[in-house]
Protein backbone atom coordinates (compact mmCIF):
# COMPACT_ATOMS: atom_id res chain seq x y z
CA UNK A 1 0.00 0.00 0.00
CA UNK A 2 1.62 3.22 -1.04
CA UNK A 3 0.00 6.54 -0.27
CA UNK A 4 -1.68 8.39 -3.10
CA UNK A 5 0.58 11.07 -4.62
CA UNK A 6 -0.31 14.61 -3.60
CA UNK A 7 -2.55 16.41 -6.09
CA UNK A 8 -0.94 18.81 -8.54
CA UNK A 9 -3.84 21.22 -8.20
CA UNK A 10 -5.97 21.46 -5.06
CA UNK A 11 -9.06 23.62 -5.47
CA UNK A 12 -10.63 24.66 -2.19
CA UNK A 13 -14.13 26.11 -2.19
CA UNK A 14 -13.16 28.26 -5.15
CA UNK A 15 -15.38 31.06 -6.41
CA UNK A 16 -14.29 33.02 -9.47
CA UNK A 17 -16.27 35.76 -11.10
CA UNK A 18 -16.64 39.20 -12.52
CA UNK A 19 -18.01 42.23 -10.62
CA UNK A 20 -18.80 40.04 -7.59
CA UNK A 21 -21.04 37.78 -9.72
CA UNK A 22 -19.74 34.23 -9.56
CA UNK A 23 -18.95 32.41 -12.79
CA UNK A 24 -17.45 29.42 -10.98
CA UNK A 25 -19.22 28.85 -7.70
CA UNK A 26 -17.90 26.92 -4.69
CA UNK A 27 -15.76 24.47 -6.61
CA UNK A 28 -13.62 22.05 -4.67
CA UNK A 29 -11.56 19.15 -5.89
CA UNK A 30 -8.12 17.69 -6.43
CA UNK A 31 -6.53 17.21 -9.82
CA UNK A 32 -3.75 14.62 -9.57
CA UNK A 33 -0.49 15.03 -11.43
CA UNK A 34 -0.62 13.46 -14.85
CA UNK A 35 -4.39 13.73 -15.21
CA UNK A 36 -5.99 14.40 -18.58
CA UNK A 37 -9.16 16.31 -17.77
CA UNK A 38 -11.85 17.49 -20.15
CA UNK A 39 -13.66 20.54 -18.77
CA UNK A 40 -17.16 20.50 -20.21
CA UNK A 41 -20.41 22.35 -19.75
CA UNK A 42 -22.76 24.71 -21.56
CA UNK A 43 -21.72 28.17 -22.72
CA UNK A 44 -21.32 30.52 -19.79
CA UNK A 45 -20.69 27.65 -17.42
CA UNK A 46 -17.38 29.08 -16.19
CA UNK A 47 -15.01 26.76 -18.04
CA UNK A 48 -12.79 29.51 -19.43
CA UNK A 49 -13.05 31.36 -16.13
CA UNK A 50 -11.74 28.32 -14.26
CA UNK A 51 -8.76 28.04 -16.61
CA UNK A 52 -8.06 31.75 -16.24
CA UNK A 53 -8.16 31.34 -12.49
CA UNK A 54 -5.70 28.42 -12.53
CA UNK A 55 -3.46 30.34 -14.93
CA UNK A 56 -3.39 33.20 -12.43
CA UNK A 57 -5.04 35.74 -14.73
CA UNK A 58 -8.08 36.10 -12.49
CA UNK A 59 -7.98 36.56 -8.73
CA UNK A 60 -10.43 34.34 -6.83
CA UNK A 61 -13.27 36.16 -5.09
CA UNK A 62 -13.58 33.26 -2.68
CA UNK A 63 -11.62 30.15 -1.78
CA UNK A 64 -8.25 29.34 -3.29
CA UNK A 65 -6.24 27.30 -5.76
CA UNK A 66 -3.16 25.55 -4.42
CA UNK A 67 -0.42 24.20 -6.66
CA UNK A 68 2.32 23.36 -4.12
CA UNK A 69 4.39 21.13 -6.38
CA UNK A 70 4.42 23.49 -9.34
CA UNK A 71 7.31 25.92 -9.69
CA UNK A 72 6.23 29.39 -10.81
CA UNK A 73 6.03 29.71 -14.56
CA UNK A 74 5.76 25.95 -15.08
CA UNK A 75 2.36 26.35 -16.59
CA UNK A 76 1.43 26.78 -20.22
CA UNK A 77 -1.93 28.38 -20.98
CA UNK A 78 -3.52 28.63 -24.39
CA UNK A 79 -6.36 31.15 -24.16
CA UNK A 80 -9.36 30.74 -26.41
CA UNK A 81 -9.01 34.09 -28.08
CA UNK A 82 -5.39 35.06 -27.96
CA UNK A 83 -4.46 38.70 -28.25
CA UNK A 84 -2.25 37.90 -31.24
CA UNK A 85 -1.79 40.78 -33.67
CA UNK A 86 -1.90 39.01 -37.03
CA UNK A 87 -0.55 41.96 -38.98
CA UNK A 88 2.65 42.10 -36.95
CA UNK A 89 5.68 41.35 -39.15
CA UNK A 90 7.08 38.24 -37.47
CA UNK A 91 7.74 34.83 -39.00
CA UNK A 92 6.25 31.53 -37.89
CA UNK A 93 9.70 30.48 -36.67
CA UNK A 94 9.98 33.54 -34.41
CA UNK A 95 6.53 32.98 -32.96
CA UNK A 96 7.20 29.34 -32.14
CA UNK A 97 10.62 30.23 -30.72
CA UNK A 98 8.83 32.48 -28.20
CA UNK A 99 7.94 29.22 -26.46
CA UNK A 100 11.59 29.00 -25.39
CA UNK A 101 11.26 32.17 -23.30
CA UNK A 102 11.84 30.35 -20.01
CA UNK A 103 15.18 29.09 -21.34
CA UNK A 104 16.45 32.14 -23.19
CA UNK A 105 14.70 35.00 -21.37
CA UNK A 106 14.79 38.49 -22.75
CA UNK A 107 18.39 38.49 -23.95
CA UNK A 108 19.64 34.97 -24.63
CA UNK A 109 20.35 33.90 -28.16
CA UNK A 110 19.09 30.70 -29.72
CA UNK A 111 21.65 27.91 -29.79
CA UNK A 112 21.89 25.63 -32.79
CA UNK A 113 20.22 22.92 -30.74
CA UNK A 114 17.35 25.23 -29.74
CA UNK A 115 16.80 26.17 -33.37
CA UNK A 116 16.63 22.49 -34.12
CA UNK A 117 14.00 22.06 -31.40
CA UNK A 118 11.91 24.86 -32.90
CA UNK A 119 12.03 23.08 -36.26
CA UNK A 120 11.15 19.78 -34.61
CA UNK A 121 8.18 21.37 -32.85
CA UNK A 122 6.98 22.74 -36.19
CA UNK A 123 7.43 19.30 -37.74
CA UNK A 124 5.48 17.72 -34.89
CA UNK A 125 2.47 19.91 -35.66
CA UNK A 126 2.83 19.25 -39.39
CA UNK A 127 4.12 22.72 -40.25
CA UNK A 128 7.56 21.97 -41.67
CA UNK A 129 8.47 24.41 -44.38
CA UNK A 130 6.42 27.24 -42.86
CA UNK A 131 9.35 28.66 -40.86
CA UNK A 132 9.82 31.84 -42.87
CA UNK A 133 6.16 32.56 -43.58
CA UNK A 134 4.75 35.70 -41.96
CA UNK A 135 2.29 34.86 -39.21
CA UNK A 136 -0.45 36.86 -40.91
CA UNK A 137 -0.48 34.53 -43.91
CA UNK A 138 -1.55 31.47 -41.91
CA UNK A 139 -5.04 30.02 -41.96
CA UNK A 140 -6.94 29.53 -38.72
CA UNK A 141 -5.96 25.89 -38.45
CA UNK A 142 -2.32 26.59 -39.28
CA UNK A 143 -2.20 29.33 -36.68
CA UNK A 144 -3.59 26.95 -34.07
CA UNK A 145 -0.94 24.39 -35.03
CA UNK A 146 1.73 27.07 -34.63
CA UNK A 147 0.33 27.99 -31.19
CA UNK A 148 0.51 24.30 -30.23
CA UNK A 149 4.13 24.18 -31.40
CA UNK A 150 4.93 27.18 -29.22
CA UNK A 151 3.16 25.49 -26.32
CA UNK A 152 5.27 22.35 -26.81
CA UNK A 153 8.48 24.34 -26.49
CA UNK A 154 7.28 25.81 -23.21
CA UNK A 155 7.78 22.27 -21.91
CA UNK A 156 5.38 22.84 -19.00
CA UNK A 157 4.24 20.10 -16.60
CA UNK A 158 0.77 21.70 -16.48
CA UNK A 159 -1.01 22.63 -19.71
CA UNK A 160 -4.31 24.52 -19.88
CA UNK A 161 -6.13 24.59 -23.23
CA UNK A 162 -9.22 26.74 -23.66
CA UNK A 163 -11.36 25.41 -26.51
CA UNK A 164 -8.38 24.51 -28.69
CA UNK A 165 -10.65 22.95 -31.33
CA UNK A 166 -13.03 25.84 -31.91
CA UNK A 167 -13.44 26.51 -35.66
CA UNK A 168 -10.77 23.93 -36.59
CA UNK A 169 -11.31 21.27 -39.24
CA UNK A 170 -11.50 17.60 -38.25
CA UNK A 171 -8.11 16.59 -39.61
CA UNK A 172 -6.36 19.32 -37.65
CA UNK A 173 -8.39 18.40 -34.58
CA UNK A 174 -7.26 14.78 -34.93
CA UNK A 175 -3.62 15.88 -35.15
CA UNK A 176 -3.95 18.19 -32.16
CA UNK A 177 -5.69 15.47 -30.10
CA UNK A 178 -2.75 13.16 -30.84
CA UNK A 179 -0.40 15.84 -29.52
CA UNK A 180 -2.48 16.18 -26.35
CA UNK A 181 -2.49 12.41 -25.84
CA UNK A 182 1.29 12.46 -26.35
CA UNK A 183 1.65 15.06 -23.57
CA UNK A 184 -0.54 12.87 -21.37
CA UNK A 185 1.73 9.89 -22.01
CA UNK A 186 4.73 12.02 -21.09
CA UNK A 187 3.13 12.52 -17.68
CA UNK A 188 2.05 16.14 -18.10
CA UNK A 189 -1.19 17.33 -16.55
CA UNK A 190 -3.60 18.65 -19.17
CA UNK A 191 -6.90 20.48 -18.67
CA UNK A 192 -8.81 21.08 -21.88
CA UNK A 193 -12.12 22.79 -22.47
CA UNK A 194 -13.94 20.66 -25.07
CA UNK A 195 -17.42 20.76 -26.53
CA UNK A 196 -17.49 17.55 -28.55
CA UNK A 197 -18.75 14.83 -26.16
CA UNK A 198 -17.83 12.08 -28.60
CA UNK A 199 -14.23 13.24 -28.48
CA UNK A 200 -14.33 13.41 -24.70
CA UNK A 201 -15.64 9.83 -24.47
CA UNK A 202 -12.98 8.59 -26.82
CA UNK A 203 -9.89 10.33 -25.49
CA UNK A 204 -10.33 11.89 -22.06
CA UNK A 205 -10.28 9.62 -19.01
CA UNK A 206 -11.45 12.31 -16.57
CA UNK A 207 -14.19 14.88 -16.88
CA UNK A 208 -15.21 18.01 -14.99
CA UNK A 209 -18.77 19.08 -15.74
CA UNK A 210 -19.45 22.68 -14.81
CA UNK A 211 -22.54 24.77 -14.99
CA UNK A 212 -21.41 27.65 -12.87
CA UNK A 213 -22.05 25.28 -9.99
CA UNK A 214 -19.82 22.22 -10.19
CA UNK A 215 -22.03 19.38 -11.42
CA UNK A 216 -19.75 16.38 -11.54
CA UNK A 217 -16.09 15.45 -11.53
CA UNK A 218 -14.74 11.96 -12.11
CA UNK A 219 -14.25 9.21 -14.65
CA UNK A 220 -15.77 10.24 -17.94
CA UNK A 221 -18.18 7.33 -18.15
CA UNK A 222 -19.78 8.39 -14.88
CA UNK A 223 -19.89 12.10 -15.67
CA UNK A 224 -21.20 12.03 -19.23
CA UNK A 225 -24.58 10.58 -18.37
CA UNK A 226 -27.91 11.94 -19.54
CA UNK A 227 -28.92 12.80 -15.95
CA UNK A 228 -25.78 14.81 -15.30
CA UNK A 229 -26.02 16.65 -18.60
CA UNK A 230 -29.67 17.44 -17.97
CA UNK A 231 -28.77 18.80 -14.55
CA UNK A 232 -26.06 20.96 -16.09
CA UNK A 233 -28.55 22.37 -18.57
CA UNK A 234 -31.10 23.18 -15.89
CA UNK A 235 -28.74 25.37 -13.89
CA UNK A 236 -29.26 28.93 -14.86
CA UNK A 237 -26.75 30.87 -16.92
CA UNK A 238 -28.13 34.29 -16.20
CA UNK A 239 -26.71 36.71 -13.71
CA UNK A 240 -29.30 38.23 -11.44
CA UNK A 241 -28.25 41.85 -11.21
CA UNK A 242 -29.84 42.33 -7.78
CA UNK A 243 -28.88 39.00 -6.31
CA UNK A 244 -28.42 38.99 -2.55
CA UNK A 245 -25.06 38.09 -1.10
CA UNK A 246 -24.20 34.42 -1.02
CA UNK A 247 -24.42 33.08 2.54
CA UNK A 248 -22.78 29.73 1.99
CA UNK A 249 -19.40 29.45 3.63
CA UNK A 250 -18.57 25.91 2.62
CA UNK A 251 -20.19 23.75 -0.04
CA UNK A 252 -22.34 20.93 1.23
CA UNK A 253 -20.01 18.34 -0.18
CA UNK A 254 -16.52 18.54 -1.59
CA UNK A 255 -15.79 16.77 -4.83
CA UNK A 256 -12.96 14.29 -4.42
CA UNK A 257 -11.25 13.18 -7.60
CA UNK A 258 -12.20 9.94 -9.23
CA UNK A 259 -14.81 9.36 -6.60
CA UNK A 260 -17.63 9.12 -8.98
CA UNK A 261 -20.05 11.79 -10.00
CA UNK A 262 -21.34 14.06 -7.31
CA UNK A 263 -24.28 16.22 -7.66
CA UNK A 264 -23.39 19.44 -6.02
CA UNK A 265 -26.41 19.99 -3.91
CA UNK A 266 -27.41 23.58 -3.64
CA UNK A 267 -28.71 25.35 -6.66
CA UNK A 268 -28.83 28.82 -5.23
CA UNK A 269 -28.09 31.85 -7.30
CA UNK A 270 -26.85 34.55 -5.01
CA UNK A 271 -24.56 37.36 -5.52
CA UNK A 272 -21.20 36.52 -4.15
CA UNK A 273 -19.40 39.01 -2.09
CA UNK A 274 -18.36 39.23 1.46
CA UNK A 275 -16.93 35.90 2.30
CA UNK A 276 -14.76 36.17 5.33
CA UNK A 277 -12.52 33.18 5.49
Amino acid sequence: MHPAPPPLIRIENLTLGYDRHPAVHHLSGDIPAGALVAVIGPNGAGKSTLLKGIAGELRPIGGRILMPGLPPGALAYLPQRGEIDHSFPVSVFDVVAMGLWREIGAFGGLSRQQRQRVREALAAVGMSGFEARPIGSLSGGQLQRARFARLMLQDAPLILLDEPFAAIDSRTVDDLVQLILGWHREGRTVLTVVHDFEQVRRHFPTCLLLSREPVAFGPTAQVLTPEMLARARRLSEAFDEDAPECQIEQPAQALPPDAGPHAHGHAHRHEHGSHRH
Binding site: E83, I84, D85, F88, P89, S91, W101, G105, A106, Q154
Partner: protein, 302 residues
Protein backbone atom coordinates in the same frame (compact mmCIF):
# COMPACT_ATOMS: atom_id res chain seq x y z
CA UNK B 1 39.18 67.72 -73.63
CA UNK B 2 39.54 69.70 -70.42
CA UNK B 3 35.85 69.38 -69.76
CA UNK B 4 35.93 65.61 -70.01
CA UNK B 5 38.93 65.34 -67.65
CA UNK B 6 37.07 67.39 -65.10
CA UNK B 7 34.05 65.18 -65.35
CA UNK B 8 36.17 62.11 -64.83
CA UNK B 9 38.04 63.31 -61.76
CA UNK B 10 35.58 65.47 -59.85
CA UNK B 11 31.89 64.88 -59.21
CA UNK B 12 29.62 66.71 -61.62
CA UNK B 13 29.11 70.33 -60.81
CA UNK B 14 25.49 69.94 -59.89
CA UNK B 15 26.34 67.47 -57.15
CA UNK B 16 28.90 69.66 -55.47
CA UNK B 17 26.97 72.86 -55.95
CA UNK B 18 23.54 71.72 -54.90
CA UNK B 19 24.07 68.72 -52.68
CA UNK B 20 27.40 69.13 -50.94
CA UNK B 21 28.21 72.82 -50.85
CA UNK B 22 25.48 73.77 -48.37
CA UNK B 23 26.93 71.31 -45.87
CA UNK B 24 30.61 72.00 -46.56
CA UNK B 25 30.20 75.77 -46.54
CA UNK B 26 27.88 76.31 -43.61
CA UNK B 27 28.34 75.03 -40.07
CA UNK B 28 24.65 75.42 -39.22
CA UNK B 29 23.77 73.05 -42.04
CA UNK B 30 26.23 70.49 -40.75
CA UNK B 31 24.71 70.75 -37.28
CA UNK B 32 21.25 70.35 -38.75
CA UNK B 33 22.48 67.30 -40.66
CA UNK B 34 23.87 65.75 -37.50
CA UNK B 35 20.58 66.49 -35.73
CA UNK B 36 18.64 64.79 -38.51
CA UNK B 37 20.89 61.73 -38.36
CA UNK B 38 20.38 61.45 -34.60
CA UNK B 39 16.62 61.85 -34.95
CA UNK B 40 16.49 59.24 -37.70
CA UNK B 41 18.45 56.78 -35.56
CA UNK B 42 16.53 57.40 -32.33
CA UNK B 43 13.05 58.67 -33.03
CA UNK B 44 12.25 56.66 -36.15
CA UNK B 45 12.70 53.15 -34.64
CA UNK B 46 10.46 54.29 -31.80
CA UNK B 47 7.99 55.44 -34.44
CA UNK B 48 8.09 51.98 -36.06
CA UNK B 49 6.94 50.43 -32.81
CA UNK B 50 4.32 53.17 -32.32
CA UNK B 51 3.00 52.26 -35.76
CA UNK B 52 3.05 48.53 -35.08
CA UNK B 53 1.27 49.04 -31.76
CA UNK B 54 -1.36 51.13 -33.56
CA UNK B 55 -0.45 54.08 -31.44
CA UNK B 56 0.46 56.51 -34.24
CA UNK B 57 -2.16 59.03 -33.24
CA UNK B 58 -1.31 58.52 -29.61
CA UNK B 59 2.21 59.68 -30.41
CA UNK B 60 0.69 62.79 -31.90
CA UNK B 61 -1.37 63.36 -28.79
CA UNK B 62 1.66 62.89 -26.56
CA UNK B 63 3.70 65.35 -28.57
CA UNK B 64 1.14 68.01 -27.73
CA UNK B 65 1.18 66.90 -24.13
CA UNK B 66 4.81 67.92 -23.67
CA UNK B 67 4.08 71.48 -24.70
CA UNK B 68 2.86 72.92 -21.36
CA UNK B 69 5.87 71.47 -19.55
CA UNK B 70 8.27 72.99 -22.05
CA UNK B 71 6.26 76.20 -21.87
CA UNK B 72 6.48 76.35 -18.09
CA UNK B 73 10.22 75.86 -18.34
CA UNK B 74 10.27 78.67 -20.87
CA UNK B 75 8.16 80.89 -18.64
CA UNK B 76 10.51 80.41 -15.72
CA UNK B 77 13.87 80.48 -17.46
CA UNK B 78 13.32 81.82 -20.98
CA UNK B 79 14.65 79.85 -23.92
CA UNK B 80 16.70 77.56 -21.70
CA UNK B 81 17.47 74.14 -23.10
CA UNK B 82 17.61 72.34 -19.77
CA UNK B 83 14.46 73.85 -18.28
CA UNK B 84 12.36 73.25 -21.38
CA UNK B 85 13.68 69.70 -21.77
CA UNK B 86 13.00 68.71 -18.19
CA UNK B 87 9.62 70.45 -18.28
CA UNK B 88 8.69 68.60 -21.46
CA UNK B 89 9.79 65.21 -20.16
CA UNK B 90 7.94 65.68 -16.86
CA UNK B 91 4.76 66.85 -18.59
CA UNK B 92 4.91 63.97 -21.07
CA UNK B 93 5.34 61.38 -18.35
CA UNK B 94 2.55 62.91 -16.26
CA UNK B 95 0.13 62.81 -19.20
CA UNK B 96 1.10 59.23 -20.13
CA UNK B 97 0.57 58.04 -16.57
CA UNK B 98 -2.62 60.07 -16.11
CA UNK B 99 -4.09 58.76 -19.35
CA UNK B 100 -3.14 55.21 -18.32
CA UNK B 101 -4.78 55.71 -14.92
CA UNK B 102 -7.96 57.14 -16.43
CA UNK B 103 -8.11 54.26 -18.89
CA UNK B 104 -7.81 51.64 -16.18
CA UNK B 105 -10.08 53.31 -13.62
CA UNK B 106 -12.88 54.72 -15.78
CA UNK B 107 -15.03 53.61 -18.69
CA UNK B 108 -13.10 55.80 -21.12
CA UNK B 109 -10.73 54.08 -23.53
CA UNK B 110 -7.12 55.18 -23.89
CA UNK B 111 -7.67 57.25 -27.03
CA UNK B 112 -10.48 59.27 -25.46
CA UNK B 113 -8.57 60.01 -22.27
CA UNK B 114 -5.45 60.96 -24.23
CA UNK B 115 -7.42 63.21 -26.55
CA UNK B 116 -8.82 65.02 -23.53
CA UNK B 117 -5.39 65.46 -21.97
CA UNK B 118 -3.62 66.58 -25.11
CA UNK B 119 -6.22 69.16 -26.06
CA UNK B 120 -5.98 70.66 -22.57
CA UNK B 121 -2.18 70.49 -22.73
CA UNK B 122 -1.98 72.22 -26.08
CA UNK B 123 -4.30 75.00 -24.97
CA UNK B 124 -2.43 75.44 -21.70
CA UNK B 125 0.93 75.39 -23.46
CA UNK B 126 0.10 78.05 -26.01
CA UNK B 127 -1.45 80.17 -23.25
CA UNK B 128 1.65 79.87 -21.07
CA UNK B 129 4.06 80.71 -23.88
CA UNK B 130 2.05 83.76 -24.89
CA UNK B 131 2.09 85.01 -21.27
CA UNK B 132 5.70 85.93 -21.76
CA UNK B 133 5.08 86.74 -25.17
CA UNK B 134 7.27 87.07 -28.13
CA UNK B 135 5.78 85.45 -31.17
CA UNK B 136 9.20 84.34 -32.32
CA UNK B 137 9.56 82.18 -29.21
CA UNK B 138 6.13 80.67 -29.72
CA UNK B 139 7.13 79.78 -33.27
CA UNK B 140 10.33 78.23 -31.97
CA UNK B 141 8.42 76.04 -29.52
CA UNK B 142 5.75 75.03 -31.99
CA UNK B 143 7.93 74.52 -35.03
CA UNK B 144 11.44 73.95 -33.71
CA UNK B 145 14.68 75.34 -35.01
CA UNK B 146 16.66 72.65 -36.75
CA UNK B 147 18.79 75.29 -38.50
CA UNK B 148 19.78 76.90 -35.21
CA UNK B 149 20.82 73.91 -33.11
CA UNK B 150 23.46 74.96 -30.59
CA UNK B 151 25.97 72.62 -28.98
CA UNK B 152 23.70 71.86 -26.06
CA UNK B 153 20.68 70.94 -28.19
CA UNK B 154 22.77 68.81 -30.50
CA UNK B 155 24.34 66.99 -27.58
CA UNK B 156 20.89 66.44 -26.08
CA UNK B 157 19.44 65.04 -29.30
CA UNK B 158 22.47 62.78 -29.81
CA UNK B 159 22.33 61.56 -26.20
CA UNK B 160 18.64 60.76 -26.45
CA UNK B 161 19.26 58.87 -29.69
CA UNK B 162 22.02 56.84 -28.01
CA UNK B 163 19.91 56.07 -24.96
CA UNK B 164 17.02 55.10 -27.23
CA UNK B 165 19.10 52.71 -29.31
CA UNK B 166 20.50 51.12 -26.16
CA UNK B 167 17.06 50.75 -24.54
CA UNK B 168 15.51 49.38 -27.72
CA UNK B 169 18.28 46.81 -27.93
CA UNK B 170 17.65 45.78 -24.32
CA UNK B 171 13.87 45.81 -24.64
CA UNK B 172 13.68 44.41 -28.15
CA UNK B 173 12.44 40.89 -27.50
CA UNK B 174 9.95 41.78 -24.73
CA UNK B 175 8.72 44.73 -26.77
CA UNK B 176 8.14 42.63 -29.89
CA UNK B 177 6.24 40.08 -27.79
CA UNK B 178 4.29 42.82 -26.02
CA UNK B 179 3.22 44.14 -29.42
CA UNK B 180 2.55 40.76 -30.98
CA UNK B 181 0.99 38.73 -28.18
CA UNK B 182 0.81 40.59 -24.85
CA UNK B 183 -1.20 37.81 -23.19
CA UNK B 184 1.58 35.32 -23.88
CA UNK B 185 4.24 37.65 -22.50
CA UNK B 186 2.17 38.20 -19.34
CA UNK B 187 1.87 34.45 -18.99
CA UNK B 188 5.57 33.64 -19.20
CA UNK B 189 7.21 36.64 -17.56
CA UNK B 190 6.88 39.93 -15.74
CA UNK B 191 8.35 41.94 -18.60
CA UNK B 192 5.03 43.15 -19.93
CA UNK B 193 4.69 46.35 -17.87
CA UNK B 194 8.44 47.00 -18.19
CA UNK B 195 8.16 46.80 -21.96
CA UNK B 196 4.99 48.90 -22.09
CA UNK B 197 6.00 51.74 -19.80
CA UNK B 198 9.65 51.62 -20.85
CA UNK B 199 8.51 52.10 -24.41
CA UNK B 200 6.25 55.01 -23.48
CA UNK B 201 9.21 56.67 -21.72
CA UNK B 202 11.21 56.30 -24.92
CA UNK B 203 8.36 57.90 -26.84
CA UNK B 204 8.35 60.89 -24.48
CA UNK B 205 12.15 61.24 -24.62
CA UNK B 206 12.20 61.19 -28.39
CA UNK B 207 9.32 63.61 -28.66
CA UNK B 208 11.27 66.03 -26.52
CA UNK B 209 14.33 65.53 -28.70
CA UNK B 210 12.28 65.96 -31.85
CA UNK B 211 10.65 69.01 -30.33
CA UNK B 212 13.96 70.89 -30.20
CA UNK B 213 14.56 70.28 -33.89
CA UNK B 214 11.12 70.17 -35.43
CA UNK B 215 8.85 71.63 -32.76
CA UNK B 216 6.05 70.00 -30.82
CA UNK B 217 3.66 69.99 -33.74
CA UNK B 218 5.92 68.12 -36.14
CA UNK B 219 8.13 65.95 -33.94
CA UNK B 220 5.85 62.99 -34.64
CA UNK B 221 6.29 63.49 -38.39
CA UNK B 222 9.78 62.04 -38.51
CA UNK B 223 8.64 59.13 -36.32
CA UNK B 224 5.50 58.00 -38.09
CA UNK B 225 5.80 58.99 -41.76
CA UNK B 226 9.04 57.06 -42.54
CA UNK B 227 7.74 54.12 -40.52
CA UNK B 228 4.46 54.02 -42.41
CA UNK B 229 6.29 54.29 -45.74
CA UNK B 230 8.69 51.48 -44.77
CA UNK B 231 5.81 49.29 -43.58
CA UNK B 232 4.47 49.36 -47.14
CA UNK B 233 7.71 47.87 -48.47
CA UNK B 234 9.12 45.62 -45.78
CA UNK B 235 7.79 42.26 -44.65
CA UNK B 236 10.14 41.55 -41.76
CA UNK B 237 10.85 43.63 -38.68
CA UNK B 238 14.63 44.13 -39.23
CA UNK B 239 14.08 45.30 -42.81
CA UNK B 240 11.28 47.54 -41.62
CA UNK B 241 13.45 49.24 -38.99
CA UNK B 242 16.38 49.69 -41.36
CA UNK B 243 14.26 51.06 -44.18
CA UNK B 244 12.43 53.47 -41.87
CA UNK B 245 15.74 54.88 -40.58
CA UNK B 246 17.02 55.28 -44.15
CA UNK B 247 13.82 57.02 -45.23
CA UNK B 248 13.97 59.34 -42.24
CA UNK B 249 17.60 60.31 -42.78
CA UNK B 250 17.12 60.68 -46.53
CA UNK B 251 14.10 62.90 -45.95
CA UNK B 252 16.11 64.91 -43.45
CA UNK B 253 18.90 65.55 -45.95
CA UNK B 254 16.46 66.34 -48.76
CA UNK B 255 14.39 68.59 -46.52
CA UNK B 256 17.46 70.55 -45.41
CA UNK B 257 18.56 71.05 -49.03
CA UNK B 258 15.09 72.10 -50.03
CA UNK B 259 15.03 74.56 -47.17
CA UNK B 260 18.47 75.89 -48.12
CA UNK B 261 17.83 76.36 -51.83
CA UNK B 262 14.19 77.38 -51.81
CA UNK B 263 14.55 79.45 -48.65
CA UNK B 264 11.68 77.76 -46.81
CA UNK B 265 11.54 76.74 -43.12
CA UNK B 266 13.50 73.54 -42.55
CA UNK B 267 11.18 71.68 -40.14
CA UNK B 268 8.14 71.68 -42.42
CA UNK B 269 10.38 70.93 -45.42
CA UNK B 270 11.72 67.79 -43.73
CA UNK B 271 8.27 66.59 -42.75
CA UNK B 272 6.92 67.34 -46.23
CA UNK B 273 9.69 65.28 -47.84
CA UNK B 274 8.81 62.46 -45.39
CA UNK B 275 5.26 62.86 -46.63
CA UNK B 276 6.40 62.67 -50.24
CA UNK B 277 8.25 59.42 -49.53
CA UNK B 278 5.10 58.14 -47.87
CA UNK B 279 2.87 58.98 -50.83
CA UNK B 280 5.28 57.49 -53.36
CA UNK B 281 5.41 54.33 -51.22
CA UNK B 282 1.66 54.35 -50.94
CA UNK B 283 1.42 54.26 -54.71
CA UNK B 284 4.33 52.05 -55.67
CA UNK B 285 5.05 49.69 -52.77
CA UNK B 286 3.90 46.06 -52.67
CA UNK B 287 1.61 46.93 -49.77
CA UNK B 288 0.28 50.05 -51.48
CA UNK B 289 -2.59 51.17 -53.65
CA UNK B 290 -1.44 50.50 -57.20
CA UNK B 291 -0.75 46.80 -56.75
CA UNK B 292 -4.46 46.06 -56.59
CA UNK B 293 -4.90 47.85 -59.93
CA UNK B 294 -2.11 46.01 -61.73
CA UNK B 295 -2.97 43.06 -63.96
CA UNK B 296 -3.01 39.83 -61.97
CA UNK B 297 0.28 37.95 -62.29
CA UNK B 298 0.06 34.28 -63.09
CA UNK B 299 -0.29 32.31 -59.88
CA UNK B 300 2.30 29.89 -58.59
CA UNK B 301 2.05 26.14 -58.50
CA UNK B 302 1.69 25.96 -54.72
Amino acid sequence: MIRSRCAANAPPLIVTEFLLAPFTDFAFMRRALAGCLALALGATPVGVFLLLRRMSLMGDAMSHAILPGAALGYLAFGLSLGAMTIGGIVAGIVVVLAAGLVTRASVLKEDASLAAFYLLSLAAGVMIVSLRGRNLDLLHVLFGSVLALDDGSLLLIASIASVTLFCLAVLFRPLVMECFDPAFLRGVSRWSPVAHYGFLMLVVLNLVSGFHALGTLMAVGIMILPSAAARLWARGLPALLLLAVLFAFGSGVAGLLLSFHADVPAGPAIVLVCGLVYFVSLLAAPGGLLVARLPVRHHLES
